[in-house]
Amino acid sequence: MTMDKKRILLIDDEPSFTRMLRLNLERTGTYEVREENRGAQGLAAAREFKPDLILLDVIMPDADGGTVAAQIKADQSLKNTPVVFLTAVVTKKEEGVIGGRPFIAKPVSANEVIGCIEKHLAR
């Protein structure tokens, strides 16, 4: 069963947020979730965890989301892994695809996040 679970990597400097989101995702029973609260460790965590999808915050004290996303894109083993920005920098009105990247605006309900993940995994 566990083998079927989709692996989701959460990179966000806010531990309580990643924990809440992990709990919400895990309660569905369909996801295996890993939290990473240091942006600079995002790439290393991804290489190690090999996620099916990465939810990435934009504004983090040590490394911003844009940089992390670029590193991931540049990594051979990770370049096809979908990255969804989950951030407060955009508004609800603006969320969606911005500059070719998918954005979810905070605050967001667990169900909205799940909907979004499903949409991207289906591709």
Partner: protein, 629 residues
């Protein structure tokens, strides 16, 4: 008498002798006739003999001669004696009459003398005090020009005593030299001329000298005195005209000053008499009004004013400066500033007006005022812009910081909701309320962000009437719930406007919502659209955002009118401020109009919000129509 009788006697003797000679000659002729006769009748008488040798002829002749001489002599003696007696009688009569005449003549002469004395005394008595008290100096001159008489004033004026003047030559005493000290010849002297030629002279440009060597300007009149047709002397009356000369000089000076002032002034200086006729017109007046002096003098002062000011009462304007409209010769009107003063002279009351053309000043004032308002508006805008910017920066920062915790809370709520037993209704309600609270907090933040986001517009050519209809649909639910009637006056075929439709819909939704909130008990919401060409700068009064239009631009406008509470004057200035609201917490954030005006401004449009005369509020939004082609 003696000569007469002697002469007559001699004449008579001569006449008698002549007569006798004639008679003798005649008789002698007779003798020759007789002789001739005698010879004729007596042929014996020898021819050529003397008739007197004839005795009877000689006798006859002697007798005849005797008779003739004695009768002639006797006649003459009688004639002489009678003549003598006639002459003696008449000469006696003549002598008598002459004596009477001489007596009468002597009487007359005596009377005359008395009369003259009486007259002289009268003159002396009457004239002396007059001469003595006269302020003018009076000198009588004799034929030589020496002073025969001088009154006390003459002495005082010349600084000497009457007795020092008497007998002195007037020319040497009064004016031996001219004012500048050059010698004054007697032949030039008008007084001397009066004596010489008998002409009266009046002189007022000379000086008389005083005993102490000083001089004074004098006016004198010299008049010759005639007696029986001959000049016997002259009278000189004179007065010191120092003061008059000074007065005249002062007058001349002041007249000159006045003239130079009036002529050099740029202002019009105009005087008029009581009946309003112009009597003084300076160069400034000509420049300002266009009339030459000769055209202006004598014409009514009021002609220089625009028709509607002509009947104004001058009296209240005296001593004041008033602004009126002037009328130039060419018929053009202009603003002027008029200061009016009055003065009286012997001829009556006069007005003097000092008039200044204030066209330029008015223009400058208007420009200044305009500039001032613009500056003020700009300042307000700047303050507003600054406020907005800082609010924007703040909002962006706050939004980010608030959204993260909000998302944690929301996630937590979501998780807990999943963990709760489905039956626990209260707990579920609590979680739901919490979720709503998060949503509300989020909407505040979103408003802030909307407002501060440096929005990029997606512009498309739109029909404003259509955008308005769409916006009405968005608030359909709220309208239906209220008791508000919507009246649509939407123009068809409006010129297209370049708009970001979603953003403008947001604008209208804000305005509609404000209107609905202002009419809690129901009312009427009128929505109108139209296009017009701007023919004058500025539009309705009210709180206004930047003006971007020019005269001649075609604008497309939307008006939203409500019949609600209206906005108080002090609030009207604040409604575009972020966070300004009069609504209870939860109902309004005060961001609505701040965002609205920002969006409209991003479109280069304007928004005006003001109270309507009929009550309620009118919001007018204008955009520049898209240029064709």
């Amino acid at each position: 008498m003696l000569e007469f009788s002697a002469v007559t006697l001699v004449i008579m003797v001569i006449v008698a002798a002549a007569i006798s000679a004639l008679v003798t000659a005649k008789l002698y002729q007779h003798v020759w006739v007789l002789k001739a006769y005698d010879t004729a009748i007596r042929p014996d008488a020898p021819k050529g003999t003397d008739p007197f040798s004839v005795p009877h002829i000689r006798e006859n002749f002697r007798n005849l001669l005797w008779i003739t001489y004695s009768s002639v002599g006797g006649g003459f003696v009688v004639l002489y004696i009678s003549l003598i007696s006639i002459v003696a009688r008449s000469s006696k009569t003549i002598n008598r009459q002459r004596a009477a005449l001489e007596r009468a003549n002597a009487d007359l002469r005596g009377a005359n003398e008395q009369l003259r004395e009486a007259q002289e005394q009268l003159v002396q008595e009457r004239m002396a005090p007059i001469l003595n008290s006269a302020g003018e100096g009076i000198c009588g001159l004799d034929l030589q020009g020496d002073i025969a008489f001088a009154n006390p004033a003459a002495a005082t004026l010349t600084g000497s005593r009457v007795e020092d003047l008497i007998g002195k030559p007037h020319h040497e005493i009064l004016h031996p030299t001219k004012a500048d000290g050059t010698p004054y010849g007697r032949d030039e002297c008008p007084i001397s001329a009066a004596l010489r030629e008998g002409a009266s002279r009046q002189v007022d440009d000379e000086v008389f000298w005083k005993k102490d060597g000083t001089s004074f300007p004098v006016e004198y009149i010299s008049t010759p005195i005639r007696q029986g047709g001959t000049i016997v002397g002259a009278v000189v009356t004179f007065e010191d005209i120092t003061e008059r000369k000074q007065g005249e000089k002062a007058l001349r000076d002041s007249a000159m000053r006045f003239r130079s002032v009036t002529q050099s002034a740029n202002d019009a200086i105009i005087s008029a008499d009581e009946s309003d006729r112009i009597i003084l017109w300076n160069r400034g007046a000509q420049t300002i009004f266009g009339y030459a002096e000769e055209d202006a003098l004598g014409t009514p002062l009021t002609r220089l004013l625009a028709e509607r000011f002509r009947s104004l009462d001058k009296i209240p304007m005296i001593g004041k400066t008033v602004e009126l409209q002037g009328l130039r010769k060419d018929g053009s009107e202009f603003p002027l500033e008029l200061s009016l003063a009055t003065w009286t002279a012997e001829e009556g009351l006069f007005y003097t007006a000092i008039i200044r053309d204030i066209t330029e000043r008015k223009q400058a004032e208007a420009k200044l005022k305009e500039a001032n308002t613009e500056l003020h508006a700009l300042q307000l805008q700047l303050i507003q812009a600054e406020k907005m910017e800082s609010v924007g920066r703040l909002a962006a920062g706050v939004a980010h910081e608030v959204k993260n915790p909000l998302s944690i809370v929301l996630m937590g709520i979501n998780y807990l909701a999943d963990q709760l037993p489905t039956a626990d209704g209260d707990a579920r309600n609590v979680l739901q309320d919490m979720e709503h609270a998060v949503a509300r907090a989020d909407s505040v933040i979103r408003g802030l962000l909307d407002f501060s986001a440096a929005s990029v517009l997606t512009l498309n050519a739109e029909d404003l009437s259509f955008v308005v209809k769409q916006s009405l649909l968005l608030v359909k639910h709220e309208i239906d719930r209220s008791h508000v009637k919507v009246v649509k006056e939407l123009a068809e075929d409006l010129p297209a406007v370049k708009l970001d439709r979603a953003k403008i819909e947001q604008v209208f939704v804000n305005i509609f919502m404000n209107a609905l909130h202002a009419m809690p008990g129901g009312g009427m919401l009128t929505v109108r659209t139209y296009a017009k060409r701007l023919t004058e700068a500025g539009h309705q009064v009210g709180s206004r955002k930047a003006d971007h239009f020019r005269l001649g631009d075609t604008v497309v406008a939307a008006e939203v009118e409500d019949t609600g509470t209206g906005i108080s004057a002090d609030q009207l200035t604040k409604i575009f401020d972020p966070f300004f609201t009069t609504k209870p917490t939860g109902k309004g954030t005060g961001m609505g109009l701040a965002v609205t005006s920002k969006i409209v401004a991003l479109h280069g449009g304007t928004i005006d919000i003001g109270n309507r005369k009929e009550g309620g509020v009118r919001a007018t939004i204008m955009f520049k129509a898209q240029e064709k082609g």
